[in-house]
């Protein structure tokens, strides 16, 4: 067996998992069929707020194929079960119980009211319309400010308010900076803006699905989830199933974007029905239900004040947020705005900062994590403000940024929000981006088009972002009252034939863990890439894990892998020395081989594995196993950063926006697989651009979602995307041994403000200084009409 010559890390390997994922010849949850399995369908409330007067299931029970029709009374007679929220951001946070099925009141359109179990999915679906529910209208509250007004209708009458929590960070009080009120009142220049982060729908490709089998020694739950490990703990705590009697499997999962960081009422419902009927059950949602009931993202109103000196030094930043929770609190929903709390100051040296967020209940689908979770909102606000400030001061927006950002020689740098950025090189990324973009040339063209009054104007938008990812140091999470830690685990098993099984606690749902993890282990152990199998997502063989979100898998889980591999080598070394009849101190390990220093005598790690398996001739007292586990808890986040430049052409007559060119230079530290990084950047850009130009979840005045299909919810297609120009600078992270930073969310975080800044830049001379997202043709046209007035 030969060891790999050149390092695997850095190679643009095609992904191992793609063939099976692309062809669908794999195990998606909905592909699972068990003997005797019943199919579940959920009756959902068409009303956004109503009292349930009565539910009559008798006709539905007589429908063909129907085995049972169950309501809250059947599944949770005492009304004790509530869906978990793992992030009580303040001790006094109001947290209404979210039942598995609504018993007495529905609080958003789409809330489950009853469930049918039938022999086929079609029969279950058909029976739904024979359930008679009588509702009594309750007043609906949809707008956050209206919800907070005196005398507003209450989403949850018993709470006495629609305010869930108020969370504040103040640099003066925290000792990380000055007093922002003072800074603002002393300021030579100050600007106030209100931005609206529209509501978005995560729109993962695979709708959610869960299968529960109650017939074995354990209750087994398969689910299309990002978080099998957390789901296991939460299911145990929510339903009182002993944790050791519970096995959770996330088979191949078709995307999540944060939308599958959830403990679903449907998952709990399926478990309760399966136990009650003693049969396996499956619930798979339709696309329409996914749009309506899977948690939504963003939905904030941001009131921002920035203060500066006339020559462009930012002196203070004040942020007041309203965050729409929807009707209930999601698993981590209350904390999503907090993930932005430390990011509004971004890459800038701002001396005073205050952040306050009010979480609000409305009669809408709940919101929770969506790609970037908190950081896109923060990045949008600060990057928009920097452009507005530049316009106010008559400065070039890049120059203003450069004046305020943390210089390369100032790292590590502790920010006004209290985070310590370990590394960064904003100068290098910006310089490279400007070159690739032809910044000066495009500015000249912009001037020419303005001069000639061209109906199609050119705009240039900038976003010099950073973000905190690699969630997360457990102590930091603890200090923010998050319910769990942020470590990750890895296990490496050396098989007798020298092949390697890697078990990771980070559960992939499309990211390419199997490929990237194989590359890392191949280098660490010097075994061929093909000899490594990466296993994930089943608590039976991977009992420990914190799963995949927050761009954490590589920085945290990848590091755990390195630590485990080092332990394998530590265990192999004495065996190798024994086999070569030399001292452990004389051994060196390179390219998969232990060699006696200064000789050509060597033995490969894979041969050592066989020797340990046989165990015929091992050093005295040696414990016959190379298998190693490791858990890594980062001391700090990783901080990817970069400069994104976007040129848009805006048709001032129709309002149409076309992206002419998009350049991004990202610094994600060391790159394990450039192909995967490129894919993450492209997808991230598309999702961020989508927020800027296309997507918005809209409810009518009754609380009905009017954008519940892809015909009305404008997910962009390839035809809407420009050809991206991407490049990288490489400033290794110092917070992990691989030097890597997260990349899963960077593109989404960076691109939204770059695009919106660009659109506004194109029409600023027409009196426009803001356009609400998404910048649809009509909105752009209306803004121009408004500006001209």
């Amino acid at each position: 067996m030969t060891a790999t010559a050149e390092p695997e890390v850095g190679k643009a390997r095609l992904r191992k998992e793609d063939a099976r994922l692309i062809t669908g010849r794999t195990r998606w949850t909905d592909n699972i069929t068990l003997p005797g399995m019943l199919h579940l369908a959920v009756l959902r409330s068409p009303m956004a707020h109503a009292r349930i007067v009565s539910i009559d299931t008798s006709a539905a029970r007589d429908m063909p194929g129907v085995v049972a029709v169950l309501t809250a009374t059947d599944l949770d007679p005492d009304g004790e079960i509530g869906m978990p929220c793992a992030w009580p951001i303040t001790p006094d946070m109001r947290h209404p119980r979210r039942p598995v099925l609504a018993a007495t009141e529905v609080n958003f359109a789409g809330e489950g009211v009853a469930v049918v179990a039938a022999r086929s999915a079609a029969e279950a679906e058909d029976a739904l319309e024979h359930i008679e529910v009588e509702y009594e209208d309750l007043p609906v509250v949809l707008d956050m400010e209206a919800a907070l007004a005196e005398g507003a209708p209450l989403v949850h009458e018993d709470l006495g308010t629609n305010r869930s929590a108020l969370w504040v960070f103040d640099s003066g009080e925290a000792g990380t900076g000055g007093d922002v009120e003072q800074a603002i009142s002393d300021a030579e220049v100050k600007l106030t803006r209100r931005f609206r982060q529209q509501r978005l729908i995560p729109a993962f490709m695979e709708p959610r699905s869960t299968v529960v089998d109650p017939t074995g020694p354990q209750l087994t739950v398969w689910s299309s989830t990002q978080i099998p490990h957390i789901l296991r703990v939460m299911t145990a705590m929510t339903l009182g199933v002993p944790e050791h009697k519970l096995r959770v499997v996330a088979p191949d999962v078709g995307g999540g974007f944060g939308g599958k960081i959830a403990v679903l009422p449907e998952e709990m419902m399926a478990a309760l029905v399966a136990r009650k009927l003693g049969k396996p059950v499956k619930w798979t949602e339709s696309r329409s239900d996914a749009m309506l009931t899977a948690h939504h993202g963003r939905d904030q109103i941001q009131d921002i004040t920035i203060s500066a000196t006339r020559d462009g030094m930012v002196t203070g930043l004040k942020v007041d947020l309203l965050a729409d929770m929807g009707a209930y609190l999601g698993l981590v929903g209350p904390g999503v705005p907090l993930l932005g709390a430390f990011m509004f100051n971004a890459i800038y040296k701002i001396p005073a900062y205050r952040f306050a967020c009010t979480n609000v209940f409305t009669n809408k689908t709940l919101t929770d994590a969506y790609r970037g979770a908190g950081r896109p909102e923060a990045t949008f606000a600060i990057e928009r403000m920097m452009d507005e400030l530049a316009a106010e001061l008559g400065m070039d927006p890049l120059e203003l940024r450069e004046k305020n950002w943390i210089r390369h020689d100032e790292f590590p740098f502790t920010t006004v929000a209290g985070l310590t950025y370990d590394s960064g090189n904003y100068e290098a990324a910006t310089e490279r981006a400007k070159q690739l973009f032809d910044y000066d040339g495009l500015r000249r063209e912009q001037q020419a088009r303005r001069a000639s009054n061209d109906p199609v104007q050119l705009g240039i938008g900038i976003s010099t972002y950073t973000e905190m990812c690699g969630l997360a140091p457990s102590r930091v999470l603890g200090s923010l009252a998050y319910g769990a830690g942020g470590w990750e685990s890895a296990s490496i098993r050396m098989l007798p034939t020298g092949k390697v099984e890697v078990v990771t606690g980070s559960s992939a749902h499309g990211q390419g863990h199997e490929t990237a993890w194989s590359q890392i282990v191949a280098d660490q152990l010097g075994v061929p890439f093909e000899d490594i199998e990466v296993l994930h997502g089943d608590t039976q063989f991977s009992p420990k894990g914190m799963d995949t979100y927050g761009s954490r898998s590589l920085a945290v889980g990848g590091t755990a892998l390195v630590l485990a591999a080092r332990r394998v080598l530590d265990k192999a070394k004495p065996v190798a020395a024994h086999m070569l009849e030399c001292s452990v101190d004389d051994m060196e390990f390179t390219g998969g081989k232990f060699t006696v220093q200064g000789t050509d005598q060597s033995v490969g790690i894979q041969d050592v594995a066989l020797a340990v398996f046989a165990a015929h001739d091992l050093p005295d007292g040696y414990e016959a196993s190379l298998d190693s586990d490791a858990t890594f808890d980062p001391e700090n986040f990783s901080y990817p950063h970069g400069t994104h430049l976007c040129a848009t052409e805006v048709d001032t007559e129709t309002g149409r926006v076309s992206i002419r060119s998009y350049v991004c230079v990202d610094d994600v530290g060391k790159v394990v697989n450039p192909l995967i990084v490129e894919g993450q950047i492209h997808g991230g850009l598309a999702q961020g651009i989508a927020q800027a130009l296309y997507e918005e979840a809209v409810h009518d005045e009754s609380g009905t979602l009017t954008t519940g299909t892809f015909a009305d919810y404008y997910l962009p297609s390839a035809a809407d995307m420009p050809t991206f120009v991407t490049d990288r600078t490489e400033t290794p992270s110092t917070t992990n041994p691989l030097g890597v930073k997260g990349v899963g969310e960077a593109g989404t975080i960076a691109s939204t403000p770059a695009v919106v800044n660009s659109v506004i830049d194109a029409v600023r001379h027409m009196g426009v200084d803001d356009i609400e997202m998404p910048c649809s043709p009509m909105r752009v046209w209306q803004a121009i009409q408004g500006g001209a007035r």
Partner: protein, 289 residues
Amino acid sequence: MEFLRPVSLGEALEMKAARPEAVPIAGGTDVMVELNFDHRRPAALLDLTRVAELAEWSRDDSVVTFGAALPYTRLINELGTDLPGLAIASRTVGSPQIRNRGTVGGNLGAASPAGDTHPVLLASDAVVEVASARGTRSIPASEFYLGVKRNALEPDELITSIRLPKATGPQQFAKVGTRNAMVIAVCSFAISLHPNESRAGAAIGSAAPTPRRVRQAEDFLTEVLDWESPQALPDSAKRRFGELVASAAEPIDDVRGSAAYRKHALAVLARRALGWAWDAYREGERSCA
């Protein structure tokens, strides 16, 4: 729900006569959406995909006739030169997958005000050929659309083919949508120049209860366009044309756009499309001369 599968037009017409409530389905790009969302529950579906003659076309010196079930992709590839306006509009329909299945017959059958091909059919003097067990009749496009999603078909009739004059001059189609593909028009506009008749046809979509011709704007063009020795059109004339087109619209405010924006955007589309078409005509005349 019954699924009827005729293999010939004759059989299809007999089935439709026997079951007038049966909903014809070809590409299914409208019907399946309605079924999926339970907006309608027909007792029967009449599948036309096996009726070969509905997917054929023929042409002579001046007229193209194509079957109602000819998919957009084939229309674009096989008839795009003769029917450029229809090809432009067809390219804006849905996605490649939808264009592989969707048909002009389906667009007509659904008669949605937002159907992409309607303005072109109106501007190009298309005739809709319909048949029933009782016989056939020809309905000019301008008499075909009766109301929101209502057309001139009798319950026992099927659309068999669409007949259009071959283009004798430039044709244009333009629409406003929120993205570049898979988008339902916020508003749309088509213009066909008919130099042989010294006139132009123009029509709007997604801006009134039905797609409609804009006759006042057409008459204005008859007055101002000099077909014999075509001159560059002054901006004021193009603008006036745009205003006349917009004034024929009766749009509504809905989730896709406000009435005010629709009217404004129509005026812009009309002005521009006229400019493109007229410039192309002048260019053609110059190169002929």
